[in-house]
Subunit: 380 residues, 2 copies
Amino acid sequence: MAGRHPFEIRDRDAAARTGVLHTSHGDVATPAFMPVATLGAVRGVSPGELRGLGAQILLANTYHLHERPGEDVIEGQGGLHGFTGWSGPWLTDSGGFQVTSMADRVRIDEEGVRFQSPVDGRTRLLTPERVVEIQEALGSDLAMVLDECRPPSPEDAAAAAEPGLEVRVAMERTLRWAERSLAARRRSDRWLFGIVQGGVSERLRRESARATAALGFDGHAHGGLGLGESREQRSDLIAAVHAELPERAPRYLMGLGRPSDLVSGVEAGVDLFDCVLPTRHGRHGVLFTSRGLLRIRNARFRSDPSPPDADCDCPTCASHSRAYLHHLLRVGEALGARLASIHNLRFYLGVLERARGAIAEGRFASLRDEILALEDVAAD
Amino acid sequence: MAGRHPFEIRDRDAAARTGVLHTSHGDVATPAFMPVATLGAVRGVSPGELRGLGAQILLANTYHLHERPGEDVIEGQGGLHGFTGWSGPWLTDSGGFQVTSMADRVRIDEEGVRFQSPVDGRTRLLTPERVVEIQEALGSDLAMVLDECRPPSPEDAAAAAEPGLEVRVAMERTLRWAERSLAARRRSDRWLFGIVQGGVSERLRRESARATAALGFDGHAHGGLGLGESREQRSDLIAAVHAELPERAPRYLMGLGRPSDLVSGVEAGVDLFDCVLPTRHGRHGVLFTSRGLLRIRNARFRSDPSPPDADCDCPTCASHSRAYLHHLLRVGEALGARLASIHNLRFYLGVLERARGAIAEGRFASLRDEILALEDVAAD
């Protein structure tokens, strides 16, 4: 695989594009949505079910798996593929976001991130080198560099116009860590992604993108978005960054978002997405449907014999009624969260399948409009 | 189906027997284990998975489904079969045990059981007639009469020799309720079971069995067992009751138990079993295996690449290691409880499958000894 380019672009529709991402564990048709398996499993859903739903690649969290069970265990079981039974591609995030969002227990300096483990209370140090090493032990096909994701502050609005010192410091440190990450890399058959930072400042994000691109990563991610900015603001920031990145490297919008975020991202040329929303909403009984959001716990679904979404091809909609899901989620029965998560994951994966088809046929704008029109609409 | 006998005995091995229970929704090969779907679902496990594991019939709880979603909803969706997607046979218990174990909020008199609903705090009255009516609305294939299950008291040891007034009062009231239940029955295509009570007194249980049998039920259940008596004591009580019951009616040991309880029951001629243990133990990471109990959260399984049980044919053992289950159950990931429950259900269903084969071949005693030898043994 060494020397082979990880990514090929196939079709274009304005800035949107389809492509194929080659990994050691199979190809991924992009744009793609990656179900989130933080701890090595997608909340209650099995690998076989995920394949049936059209998932191509899963995402796991480096920091959480480092804590439990430890990368040594996973490496000893054939990496994430052997350990979990999902033998397709895996992406691991760096854990930087999880760690730095632990607020007051964290200290960041040039060496890395020091924090108290919430698992055993002991001090941990995550360095850029260590994070690459852990991900190589986990065996992920796509790895992310450690980045400093600065949480949004009241000064961020001002920073957008004239970025303050803190945003710049974090962005520049992320660049130095990116260089160290590349130097620490031992496996050439796994792809390493750089992460663009810079808060909500277009100037800083462009600068970060240019400098990150110059380092020669296999792909690039948008970090630190979805933390308060408007969707319009985010779309502008994404487009600005893409102007600075090489076309032929895949682009990943980390941790976002709603279906509207997916189509906005695709429109701007994003290739990879992940989000916990399908499973989190599923557990709370909020279903994504072709007619908008369906809050299945609502009393009006108590006796509704129709499937959650008549236009959906998922196993939940094939076999179960709204009334049954309403009941299961009301009484807190685990099967309810599972059936709702399965439906929501299929909705997300289906949107991206349709996006790939629409781009190939030059009609992505109409799919985008269809999905945007569902935003905040209550179904039926 | 009217006029057809619900049950045929096929093979015998001493008191143990195999048979076929005919229902409107298919036949059940006995002895059979019924996975417990208290609220209309087996904790996180789907109807399709249950079929794959060899389940033939499920058990739901009349009282809980009466509270939520209400039998009107379930009746409107084609009964339990249409509502849940499990189209095979259903047994519903009467809810008597659940209600009377709510202790101080319960008042029992000749009319029925009055209690405060834990769901909405309002007073409910369950009468024998109402319980039959609710079960007919739920559409269950096998229904149980309302019984008074007296919780064990300190006087129970004495009562075994010389039953006290309370045990007799409850047993006799259960008999009067049984008569009222038969009179309330409207559907002849569903089977109604009487319940034998009498605490741990053999004399009272024999008396209860004789009188219940005389009423002409389709089948009979052992009520009020598994509440403190030893397994030997229980086996004697079961055998004594069977001597008073007609051979050609199916016998159901309610709510028990461990694998050893299953084989002891089969040996005494029991045909139907249910228990929450496979799923409850599964959620807590306790696995039943061919070598004994495996507490998968134990540190020694952290890196164990072998399947939970090398002799097991379940989907969990086919695809996942002890190390993965250990991790999932340690971190509280929902997939862990599901995979462990699936394995345990398969173990239970497999024991009964093997029991049917062993009885047919006249070698049940050796299977019984094999399962009894596993009791309280830690695997590996």
